[in-house]
Symmetry: none
Subunit: 222 residues, 2 copies
DNA sequence: ATCAATGTGAATAATCTGTGAATTTCCCGG
DNA sequence: CCGGGAAATTCACAGATTATTCACATTGAT
């Protein structure tokens, strides 16, 4: 278990780190949002603990940036009196928040709560999702475009389902190859492009949900 | 979707309510067990979230009382250290437990899980099902095609029944082998194909219900 | 304008499924 | 313990579908 601690005050970082290490976590530290984003993208942390008020890049923006490529659980630290409403900007993907001054014991409890949810229950992905006129039934392996069943190839289903499961986050070609094709695929990157093309054709007007991220890969944007 | 939030601490109620409303639920609040019972009996909630330690009437007693007239799914909130009571709780018909301090996101996930589970499990699997001219009597282990009894082999029955029980769900060959043949079967995947073939023959015109999912497996599509 | 990244159509290679038949296993009565 | 038939499993092959590669067109950023 590895956690990333982000705060501009070294004192706070130290306190959190000491408790976390006492609980048996490995820790990394970042002093501002920019650093945090870089580190979070480079390493797969189990939890990120991040202050809101920070120089260079604040916690909200850092969170937003990290969420583009990772789904790491994030716990925000907020000073009492800080805009409380913003804490409920869950569209940012914040998993929990703790108000400063906090008891380290409570923070540890929250870390456990957040990470348990991760490992234990592989998030109960709903079996059926609808985006406008695009219905996706993963359990039944069916896709309906404006009510009409789409007839897609196996790879198209696999690719679409993976994109949808990880919607709104950027996926590189390599990541897609590894997750959809399998770790043992050693072919061309561009194979992904061809399948994206075919998938787009199958989705008709709803091809718009599949966004190209130039220089990066693709994502399903709902 | 309407949920009832029961806790004597207004702060906790507020946090849960804000998360829940963000997720699109309607919410009501109760500050103690007595209130909760009154409200739960008057209104059909989809889920009730209730603290254990409360003035006037504790969570257990409230749960017991509500259960006398309603089957609403109940998620209990318990302070750390009340672990022992957990076992006792499930006997009362508690659907899930969340330990305080909890991650609101986790709580939301549990609400979803519980409400889905409830609605799905509500209808017990009938033992006899008819699809057009295909009658399937699982209890009697008989199948009628256009009124005439089909004479099938044991594996055909097992396979058909499993497919029907899981109709409209995509099933891989591996899954079928594990569930129908048993975890200790170490033979060839394609064995499934052969049995599907024989099953299709036995079903005559109703073979149409057994759909091949290329690259995946099969499913019974009603 | 230029260069790299992406979209696309077509050719080829690889994979998958249905099926008939051969082989093995299982089950029972003798 | 054995034989015989039913059932289960494996096997091989054809036909159809799908995946991959490649070349070229198009797009987008600087």
């Amino acid at each position: 278990m590895k956690i990333l601690i982000v705060d501009d005050e070294a004192n706070i970082r130290r306190v959190v780190r000491e408790y976390a290490e006492f609980e048996g976590y490995e820790t990394d530290e970042a002093g501002d949002g920019m650093e945090a984003v870089t580190m979070a993208k480079a390493t797969d942390y189990d939890v990120i603990i991040m202050d809101i008020m920070m120089p260079r890049l604040d916690g909200y923006s850092a969170c937003k940036e990290i969420r583009k490529t990772k789904n790491t659980p994030i716990i925000m630290l907020s000073a009492r009196g800080e805009e409380y409403d913003k804490l409920f900007g869950f569209e940012l993907g914040i998993d929990d928040y703790v108000v400063k001054p906090f008891s380290p014991k409570e923070l540890m409890a929250r870390i456990k709560a957040v990470s348990i949810r991760r490992s234990a229950a592989q998030q109960p992905m709903p079996e059926r999702i609808t985006f406008e006129g695009l219905e996706i039934d993963m359990a039944g392996r069916e896709v309906y475009v404006n009510g009409q069943k789409a007839n897609m190839t196996p790879k198209e289903y696999d690719l679409l389902f993976y994109l949808v499961k990880n919607r709104n986050i950027a996926l590189t070609r390599d990541k897609l190859l590894e997750e959809v094709w399998g770790y043992d695929f050693f072919g061309d990157d561009r194979t992904v492009d061809t399948h994206i093309k075919m998938l787009r054709n199958s989705l008709g007007e709803y091809r718009k949900f599949i966004v190209t991220l130039r220089g990066m890969g693709y994502k399903f944007e709902a």
